[in-house]
Structure formats: C-alpha cells, structure tokens
C-alpha cells in the first residue's frame, strides 16, 4: 500500500520536474529579447537591461532554471510585471474562485452524469436511453459560453432567481450565501462534462454487463437491481473514476471562457489578462499551479483506484 503511494508520488514528481523545465523554457521561446517584448515598444534600453537583470536572464540557462525552480519550491514564483506584486498573491485571488467553481461543477458532473448514465444503460435501447444519449450528445457539443448565455437569459434575466455575473468571495460579506453566484457558471461548465461522464458511464456499464462474472451473479438468483449495483456499476466505476481526475483538471482550463461570460474573478481570467499584458511571470506561475493541481488530482485518483480495484497493487 505505502509502496504503491510512494511509487505514484515519485512518478508525479518526475512529471512535475519535466513540466517545470518546459514552463521555464517557455519564456525563452519568445522571439527576440524577452525583456524587451515584455516591456513593449515604449521601453528604453535601460529599462530592458534592468528587467534582464531582475529576471536573471544574463545567467547561463541551467543556472536560471535552478534559480527559478528553487524559488518556486519556496513558494516564490517571481513578481508580476504589470502589478509589481508577487505572482503568488496575483494567482491566489483567482485560484480560490476557480477551485470553488471547479469543485461545485464536479459535484454536478458526478450527481448528474453517473446516475443518468446508469439509467440509460439499464434501459438500453429504450426510448428513454435513446433520448438521454441523444441529449447528452447534443449537450456535449454545445460550447459552454452558449449554455452560459442561455442560463443567464432564463434564470437571471427572465426569472431573476440567480445573479448573472460577478462573485464576491465567501470570505466577504454574505458568506456561504455568495455561492449562489457560482450556480449558473458551474451549471454551464458542468453541462458538456456531465454529458461526457454520462456517455462514459453508460458505455462502461454496457461493457461490464457482458462480463462472465455478471452472468455468474445472475446465476446466483440475486435481483437484477443488485446485479446492476453490486456487480456492474461497481466495476464500471473503475473507468469512470479515472476520468474524474482528467475532467476536474480540464475544468480549470475550460473555466477560462465561462469566467469571462460570467465575469468571475477566476484564474482563467487572470491568464487571459496576463497574456494580453505579456505578464510572463504570472503566466508561468498559473501554468505551474495548474500542472501541480492536475498531478495532485490524478495522484489522488490513482490512490483511490487502489481501494476500488484490488488487482492494481500487482501491476
């Protein structure tokens, strides 16, 4: 058990190192003089030289990397050029919103995608299954910003039940009630992902239902419901759970568009604005944070897998 966790963690760390090299090199892929590009046309040679020195661009490449990675390990991702404050604090504000948004979205995805997928699989071939599968296909194909606009139109503009945009932090006035600002954005974001999980659950259920051990379970004389829950769903979830990690991580990047539609102060908006401002340290920092999040989530999925599937330890 611990050996397995250790091995997985080591693999995740190795991936992180590789990713960090790529993120680091990114700044050197900018054509021309990075410092000059960052400062724009109006910069004087003195300013460019000052930025070069501040970013350590005069040092050899690998020295720069170790300097950058070493600071990152200590929680220092450099300073934002635009805000002139630590990258970490620029990211932290947006990260809180985005992680909360992704988490709520994930709850929708699991609560809608899995049960509806199970129902579709159990009624395979019926009008209900065909209707649900068709609807899932449609919803998976609609861009989230479009879903978002429609949700705003109906629930915010017409019915006035929920706010259409913005998000005051739950730590500010209003507390947890502020989560209502995230209901529409999370639903918009959940729509295509729940549809995908629905289709995956359905397909996985149908695959497993052909397994020999499901026939054994039927032969025992247990009820069809128990066959579905204890034998088919239990094994079908192995596939679905491994998709959760990817879905959650993908939400962070998909959130870029949704956050723009709903004017949420999230990490996605930070990225878009930083790209427009050529604020490279912030972009690097955000990518590094997203990579870390991705790795941690998939590590958690891998470890939970060990509890779901006793065969994993042998591999």
């Amino acid at each position: 058990m611990w050996g397995y966790i250790l091995k997985r963690t080591a693999a995740a760390l190795a991936t992180l190192v590789a990713a960090s090299v790529l993120i680091f090199i990114f700044i050197h892929l900018i054509p021309g003089e990075p410092a000059a590009v960052m400062l724009g046309d109006a910069a004087t040679p003195d300013q460019v030289a000052a930025l070069r020195t501040r970013l350590g661009l005069d040092e050899p490449l690998f020295v720069q990397y170790f300097y950058w990675a070493g600071s990152a390990l200590q929680g220092d991702l450099g300073r934002s050029i635009f805000f002139d404050e630590p990258v970490t604090s620029v990211i932290a504000d947006g990260a809180q919103t985005s992680i909360l948004l992704a988490s709520i979205t994930m709850v929708w995805v699991v609560l809608i995608g899995v049960p509806v997928g199970v129902i579709a699989a159990m009624r395979r071939g019926s009008w209900l299954d065909q209707g649900l599968s068709g609807l899932a296909m449609l919803l998976a194909s609609i861009p989230t910003f479009w879903v978002g606009l429609y949700l705003i139109l109906v629930f915010a503009a017409q019915l006035g039940w929920l706010p259409s945009s913005g998000y005051p932090s739950i730590f500010e006035e209003g507390g947890l009630a502020n989560l209502r600002y995230l209901i529409l954005p999370s639903l918009a974001l959940a729509t295509p992902n729940a549809a995908l999980i629905l289709r995956l659950t359905r397909a996985s259920m149908l695959d497993v239902s052909k397994e020999d051990y499901v026939r054994t379970a039927r032969a025992k004389g247990i009820s069809p419901r128990q066959v579905t829950l204890r034998h088919i769903l239990r094994n079908a979830l192995l596939v679905v759970v491994s998709a959760f990690g990817f879905t959650f991580a993908a939400l962070i990047s998909e959130a870029v568009v949704t956050e723009t539609v709903f004017a949420l102060p999230g990490i996605g908006r930070t990225v878009v604005q930083s790209i427009l401002r050529r604020d490279y340290p912030v972009i690097q920092g955000v990518i590094l944070v997203i990579v870390c999040l991705y790795l941690v989530l998939n590590l958690l999925v891998d470890i939970s897998y060990r509890f779901l599937d006793p065969r994993v330890e042998l591999e």
Binding site: D212, Y213, T216, A217, R218, A219, G221, N235
Partner: protein, 322 residues
C-alpha cells in the same frame, strides 16, 4: 429430477429468428451425471443456458418446449424469478474460472452473496466455511479474505462450485468447467464433481467436447449435432457400440496412442450453420453411410434398450448391448 422436453431455442438475427436448439429432450436423475457432447456450435451451451434461465433475452429465447425440475415448470424463468417462486435449485458453473468471479470483490463475499439469496436465515460465516470445506478449498479462513486474482484457476473453479452449491442444487450444470485448466487440476475438479454428485445426490449436466472426460465421468451420454440430440445412452454402450455414425466418427477422431504416429482421423466436411440446416438428417451430407431416405423427411428413432439414436442406418445393431 430435471426434465427437458422438446426444447427449442432461437436467436433473433436481421433475417429473422434462427433455431439454434431444435427439439432437445433429456432427463437427469438425482445422483446421475449426463454428459452432453458436441462440437462448437452444436447448441450444447445454448441448451445449458436455457436450462439455467440465462439466455440473453430478448434476442435469444426459448420458443417452445418445457423445462421442469421435480415437476415444477421453470421454462423461460430467470434464476431470480425461480428463487422467488422457490424453484431456485438449478446451479451452474462455467468454462472460464478466471473471468467468472467478480475481480473486485473478496471470494468470501461472493459465496456469502449466494448463501443469503437461498438461505436468508443461515449463519453466513458457518455456511461459507462449510461450502469451502465441501469443495476442499484449503484453509477456509484465509481464503475468504482473498480476491479472485490471488487464486489459481483450479481454486477459482472450486470457489465457483462453492457458489453453485450455496442453493443446495438438485441439478448442477457444468459448461466445460475444466477446459481452461491444466490436466492435473482438471482431474481434481472432475473428481470433486463426481464426489459431490454422489454425496449430495445431485444431478449433473456436464457439457464438454472432450470424449475422454465423458468416458471417465458421466453415467449417461447425449451426443448433440446441429442443435439436436442424435444419440443417447449409457457411457458403456455408447463407447462400445455407438448407433449413430456421427458418434462413431467422433470416437474415431480421438487419437489412439497405441497406433503410433498414424495420421489423425477427421470427419470430412463441416457441421452445418444454423441457417443451413434443412429437412432430413443434418449429418447426412457428411455421412459415409447416408442413403436416399436420409436426405428428406423425418429420421426414425432407433431404440436398443435405453440406448436411442435418430438414424436410418444405425451401426452396431447386431452387437450385444451391455
């Protein structure tokens, strides 16, 4: 006693329903092993799935005939429906012990699940241990915590048998249970089945394509060809004096070590696909004894004591039957 009468199983295809099993009848007494022999595609597995109520409906179903256990009609009922009506006493073990157990659940739980269905009052732990002893799974307490992938193929098949025995079956259907196992393990499992059959007075429907296994294990043999039982009799008579040319041909195909490196014998031609079966004897296109009457119409039943076959020109009619 299991009685199967005129069982017809058909499979839905885009071109209409096709009969895979075409009028099969047999009976199995308590404590008796009936070997059901046939090539792949002869309908023996479909027959066994129909008896167990495990046909994949609605595509595959029993279109006519009757299956009854001790007088109770169980035709077309799933195991769940049978349990609810108190007729859940047919059990089945399968060809692939490696894939027939749920990989993510402990084997003890999988046995217990079957016990709870058929014996809701039972002390599950005691009964699980009893069943594990019965199938000679070593060190019952340790094995209960094991997962299927931690056991060998032979052990898994023992677990499958323990699950099957949980319902105290009157009939156990064994669909090629040893085909996937090593020869030595195969012998152990066959010995176990024979022993359980005798001790528990349980009928066994043993499906196989291996004549050697049948000759060692079964009391009676039924030979299937193209969805029909073409010959039935006791092991002794069938092996010493087969009536049907197909049975004789099958036995000629078993290599005889005493003849050295003689070429392997085969039956020329191929078994008909279900959509190719026409009237007359389905074996006639491949049969060296076939004559004009075999091509068309009903094939007569030949009876020598308990030994029966459907054939116009049966073999060994002059041989004294034992």
């Amino acid at each position: 006693m299991l009685v199967v009468e005129d069982l017809v199983v058909s499979v839905g295809t885009p071109r209409g329903a096709l009969d895979i099993v075409r009028g099969v009848s047999f009976r199995i007494e308590p404590g008796e092993i009936l070997g059901l022999v046939g090539e792949s595609g002869s309908g023996k597995s479909m027959t066994s799935l129909a008896v167990m109520g495990l046909l994949e409906k609605p595509g595959t179903r029993v279109t006519s005939g009757r299956i009854a256990i001790d007088g109770a009609d169980i035709t077309d009922a799933t195991p769940y429906e049978r349990v609810r009506k108190g007729n859940g006493d047919v059990a089945m073990i399968f060809q692939e012990p490696m894939t027939s157990l749920n990989p993510v659940r402990r084997i003890g739980d999988q046995i217990a699940e079957a016990i709870k269905v058929h014996d809701p009052e039972a002390d599950v732990n005691a009964r699980t241990r009893e069943l594990m002893d019965l199938v000679r799974l070593p060190d019952a307490s340790l094995q209960q915590g094991a997962y299927p992938h931690e056991l060998s193929g032979g052990m898994r098949q023992r677990v499958m048998i323990a699950i099957a025995l949980a319902c105290r079956p009157k009939v156990l259907i064994a669909d090629e249970p040893t085909t996937a196992l090593d020869v030595t393990v195969q012998l152990q499992i066959l010995g176990l089945i024979r022993d359980l059959c005798d001790r528990l007075r349980m009928g066994v429907l043993f499906i196989t394509h291996d004549l050697g296994v049948v000759s060692q294990l079964a009391d009676r043999v039924a030979v299937m060809y193209a969805g029909q039982i073409v010959e039935t009799g006791s092991v002794g008579t069938i092996f010493s004096a087969p009536l049907h040319p197909y049975t004789a041909g099958l036995m000629a195909c078993v290599p005889d070590p005493s003849t050295g490196h003689a070429p392997l014998v085969t039956i020329p031609g191929q078994a008909p696909r279900p959509d190719e079966v026409t009237s007359g004897c389905p074996f006639s296109p491949r049969c060296q004894y076939a004559g004009e009457p075999c091509r068309d119409g009903l094939v007569p039943l030949v009876r020598v004591g308990e030994h029966t076959a459907f054939c116009h020109f049966p073999l060994n009619m002059g041989v004294a039957h034992v």
